[in-house]
Symmetry: C2
Subunit: 389 residues, 2 copies
């Protein structure tokens, strides 16, 4: 898009693509009886004990400026949570609270890439990492996963071949959105060794770390990296604690970066919403039964989704290992955006078009199964008419 | 600061200065009986009716993703508020809700400046605009205000001389932090004519628009600019509604930029905290009596502050026209950071060092008078020992 002003805006910004998921959701906004499975969030509000903690903070008058790195109680709760989860100690200085996982990625890109630099991004991927690289004037390079019989696979040689002297970042999102790809501990070790040797940062988006169905958590770079390794792990309260609207996440980084990350918070949002951080403390300290129940619920939805989709004649499904999506190719579909818009009327179901996740996603669509079983069954029945016709 | 990693971070980021106000506040954090007047916020929490509105939104389960541009009810409330305040119509498309005034400035700089560009900033100024320019790889240029008998003065010729073919932005903060400088309508018209002719954007930080003592609001670029002029006005809920910890602000821009600003929100924080936006709606719709009472309260504190400081022998005070600061030079002080640290112990009062606001602020200190009268009187009594000795 171009503005009508003689005063120019940056070309990199004028050409930023709008979200194609939002485009489908706007097209379907006023359709009666639509079942929307397009966004990456559950269908239930944040649990009451978390909301009550934020309300209590409002009652206590926690409405003032807070430290750049986050409210101390929350940083402590995060360090303790990571310690319980991964069986290691995490120094407080390694933790910076951010205004969402997205904002954490933006801070990382501000810190690491500028004009002339590049970042290698494993795709198909949630599009926002790519755009944050572009905003900083740097070049995103896609390393495409291969769909196989037992899931998506990263080719380390292909990734290495994409890196050059101006590569500052390798961005991986595991468990992955939209693919459900999950890196193994061995793959993480190998990638870390490569990054160390080449002086490249790994930015690991682990916001789906807890949305897993066969173990307590996905393999994490926090388990294989030392405290001073060039690794920045991004996390979020959005998925495991159903807090998408709270805009709270965190970064785990080498302690030496604490002053830099505090400064970057200062110059971006100063700090996340003060009283919301009290909700996040409650999520970490009292939230394990909730996370377990959520995964059981999403796990049942997942079984149903994979079984039904797998039986549809037009669907080629690469089994997701984790997260709460099914990402599948549809025979005959070459324009996933047009197909998803068509589905709004032909099936009354809202899905996300694969092209939203990079060129490698074209021909695919994404279904979010973080939804009640009856509603999901209804959606799959409707989809059967189009996908199994 | 340098990291201990072979993997580099950007030089522009490694060299970002930490806030010198934060440096003083950390030095004074554990001193008993200190009176802190260093930060730009009042001493009372957000009024109850605003907190209750956010709590009600939490009870209603407003914890999901929201539109990038902001919750529609809030955008409508902002457009209506601006309409009442300035007696003009503001189209909804001109309003984008942001995660603080600071974040609004960062979005503006992302949109407008990149490597090789520059932004002219009127100083002494709150340091964050300058750093957001540096983060984007561009050059900040200071246009220094002159202290005079009847307030601070901007020299338009000096400003024009700083602009060249790579100047993308002129940044003004009026009413100004720390100076209390307030641009007149005539000065705004002249600057707008210059910006139009040169194809340069004005980014006007008007977060103190309502913290005025002799009129309902400060002169605003929204009163002199047409809807398609190259003007981006930044506002915030922090100051007039005592909502510093909420991290909510907004941008008023040409409607043609709405898709771009929505995209930038998406790739920075997606959108501000969903349920907090309900509090901001209440602030705008029910907050006028509160804003009036706040200005009366701050106005009494201001009179006391200016009268007392004006009588101190070591103080040279340039009268602020608006906002809630006194920014004054202290005879014999050449290192304002060291002086403010010393004051912590010698007077038991926390002030902000002038150097925090750019080199032009050296030798000055900033006192925030958004404070109860008894407390302020006590602080001024203590300061008298040092400043009137």
């Amino acid at each position: 898009m171009r503005t009508h002003h003689p005063a120019p805006i940056r070309a990199a910004i004028a050409s930023l693509p709008g979200s194609k998921i939002r485009e489908v959701s706007l097209a379907g906004a006023n359709l009666p009886d639509l079942i929307p499975l397009w966004f990456g969030e559950g269908d239930e509000p944040t649990p009451a004990f978390i909301r009550e903690a934020a309300k209590a903070a409002l009652d206590r008058g926690e409405t003032f400026y807070a430290p750049n790195a986050g409210v101390p109680a929350l940083r402590q709760a995060i360090a303790a949570y990571l310690g319980r989860l991964y069986g290691r100690d995490f120094a407080l200085e390694r933790i910076t609270v951010t205004g969402s996982g997205m904002n954490a990625i933006m801070l990382a890109m501000q810190m690491l890439v500028g004009e002339g630099d590049n970042a290698v991004i494993v795709e198909p991927m949630w599009p926002n990492a790519r755009e944050s690289v572009r905003i900083m004037g740097a070049e995103p390079r896609a390393c495409v996963l291969e769909p196989g019989n037992d899931g998506w696979r990263l080719d380390p040689d292909r990734l290495a071949a994409l890196c050059d002297a101006r590569t500052r970042v390798i961005f991986v999102n595991s468990p992955g959105n939209p693919t459900g790809w999950m890196m193994s501990t061995e793959e993480q070790r190998a990638l870390l060794a490569f990054a160390r040797a080449r002086g490249i940062w790994i930015v690991a988006d682990e916001v789906y770390a807890r949305i897993v169905y066969d173990r307590p958590h996905a393999p994490s770079f926090l388990e294989v990296a030392g405290p001073d390794d060039p690794v920045i792990v991004v996390n979020s309260f959005s998925k495991a604690w159903s807090m998408t609207g709270w805009r709270l996440g965190w970064i785990t980084a080498p302690a030496s970066l604490a002053p830099v990350l505090g400064n970057l918070n200062e110059f971006n949002i100063s700090h996340p919403t003060t009283f919301a951080q009290a909700g996040a403390v409650a999520a970490l300290e009292q939230g394990e039964p909730y996370v377990a129940a959520l995964c059981r619920r999403y796990g049942e939805a997942r079984e149903l989704t994979l079984a039904r989709l797998g039986s549809f004649r037009r669907v080629r499904l690469t089994r997701p290992e984790a997260a709460f999506y099914a990402f599948f190719a549809v025979d005959g579909v070459r324009d996933s955006l047009a197909f998803c818009k068509e589905l709004l009327r032909s099936a009354g179901v809202g899905l996300a078009p694969g092209i939203a996740f990079g060129p490698a996603g074209e021909g695919y669509v994404r279904l979010c199964h973080a939804c009640s079983l009856p509603r999901l069954e209804q959606a799959l029945d409707r989809l059967a008419g189009v996908l199994d016709g």
